[in-house]
């Protein structure tokens, strides 16, 4: 199945930190660590309409790194930091 587009959940704030960023969901009070600057760049690039593969390309993520970033995004979807938007 083709992925729907992703976006940072509207209830989430990001704070840049030396290791990446902190993400806090004001609704669920959940605090999540984005442990790599690449993940932060991709999350900031999600706009709710561009397909994830294109966001990864535009962020300059090399092909061999893309599966790891996609796994990180899956985990962020499960924790509610990133949400799926129906196309």
């Amino acid at each position: 199945m083709d992925r729907t587009a992703l976006r940072l959940d509207p209830g989430v704030a990001l704070r840049p930190e030396p290791f990446g960023a902190l993400a806090y969901h004001y609704g669920t009070r959940r605090l999540v660590f984005l442990k790599h600057p690449d993940v932060v760049r991709v999350v900031e690039g999600l706009d709710g309409s561009t397909p994830t593969s294109e966001v990864l390309e535009s962020c300059g993520i090399p092909a061999d790194r893309q599966p790891a970033i996609e796994r990180a995004l899956d985990a962020l979807v499960r924790s509610g930091i990133v949400s799926e938007v129906a196309a």
Binding site: R15, P16, E17, P18, Y26
Partner: protein, 374 residues
């Protein structure tokens, strides 16, 4: 040490978990009060200063503050400060003894977004609780909890300091929280503030530490702990959460007069990093204080260096060591490997904080008076 804990130990642009004690005034006189509260301090931050601090924290990207005291609801501007914070993206979790939660306050609290409340209760029955918190406080806490539940507040917290006398009530306390639609929070007793005098009598026994560890492993997914029991990881399986001392690294305390300490459990000159009224405000204290810079340096394991458990217990709690007279680079006084008891037997004098707002002053050494007759 995980890469994340390693990174966090070097400090962050702003704290993750900032405790802000709004006032030293308190209507109670709990024997384990971390901040030796009782009387208001005349130098406490004004409403305008408190609002300005919230704005500064918002600019730093602090997601939420943990408000405590003293009893924070004693401040007449309590809701003014809280509403300013929550309407500007700084969530509030506040800790109260419940005395001032009448029906109107309960409705107001329940109606606010980004506001969490925890009611302190230290025993399942009045005898256990009131021995620590004072006569009638069990009923007061329960009444406040029932009012919050009736007002539709969901997932408020019942907050329990685990002592020798309530370890065997943990199941009952969890059931009590469930019955109120609340969440149970349990934290570790520290020998800080008035706790310095009560810790020897109240802290869990070695056998009870094992019970707590097992209980948290079995119930940790439903119970909050503030990640305060990481010294128990030396028993084997690690507890959920960030297993590290966050003092000055991811955590700090702002006290009612604006003094910034490394954590809520070390209100003592030695751990004071600065004051929010100083040039540069809180931001400069967090980013530039030499105390915090030192805490963010990789620490030595000291006497724990040869212990196989050090990687998971990290030597335990700095505050617990400090206020029991133990070296900071040695075992925690409640070390489950038995090193704590050995260390306590030869511990130095216990440091006493000169920050004490207890209504009953500590007994002082009598000064002999010599009457001279002419």
């Amino acid at each position: 040490m995980t890469a994340l804990v390693d990174q966090l130990s070097r400090g962050l642009m702003a704290p993750i978990c900032l405790t802000w004690e709004l006032t030293y005034a308190c209507n109670l006189d709990c024997v384990h009060c971390l901040s030796s509260s009782g009387r208001r301090d005349p130098r406490e931050l004004s409403t305008a200063e408190a609002i300005a601090l919230v704005d500064e924290l918002r600019g730093l990207g602090v997601f939420y503050v943990n408000i405590g005291g003293g009893e924070p609801m004693i401040r007449r501007d309590f809701f003014t400060i809280v509403e300013h914070a929550t309407s500007n993206g700084v969530g509030v979790k506040f800790s109260t003894n419940g005395t001032f939660i009448d029906e109107a306050a309960a409705k107001r609290i329940a109606s606010m977004d980004y506001l969490d409340v925890q009611i302190s209760i230290d025993g399942l029955d009045p005898d256990t609780n009131d021995a620590v918190r004072g006569t009638g406080t069990h009923e007061t806490a329960l009444r406040a909890a029932r009012r919050l539940a009736a007002a539709g507040m969901r997932d408020f917290k019942l907050s329990v300091v685990v002592t020798r006398h309530n370890v065997d009530q943990l199941d009952g306390l969890l059931a009590l929280a469930d019955s109120l639609g609340a969440q149970l929070r349990v934290t570790r007793l520290r020998p800080s503030g008035r706790g310095a005098q009560s810790w020897d009598d109240l802290h869990p026994t070695d056998a009870q530490q094992r019970v707590i560890h097992r209980w948290l492993l079995d119930h940790g997914d439903r119970v909050l702990t503030g990640d305060s029991f990481f010294h128990l990881n030396a028993l084997g399986e690690s507890l959920p959460g960030l297993n590290m001392c966050g003092a000055g690294r991811v955590v700090c305390l702002v006290d009612p007069v604006g003094d910034v300490y490394a954590c809520p459990f070390v209100i003592h000159e030695q751990f004071k990093a600065g004051n929010t009224r100083d040039q540069g405000g809180f931001t400069a204290v967090w980013r530039e204080s030499t105390l915090f810079a030192d805490l963010r340096e990789p620490g030595s394991a000291g006497a724990c260096a040869s212990c196989g458990a050090y990687d998971v217990c990290r030597g335990g709690c700095m505050a617990a060591k400090f206020f029991t007279g133990l070296p900071l680079d040695g075992p925690d006084p409640e070390c489950v490997g038995g090193e704590g008891e050995r260390a306590l037997a030869i511990a130095g004098p216990r440091p006493v904080s000169d920050v004490d707002h207890s209504r009953r002053p500590r007994p002082i050494t009598p000064v002999p008076v010599v009457l001279v007759t002419k």
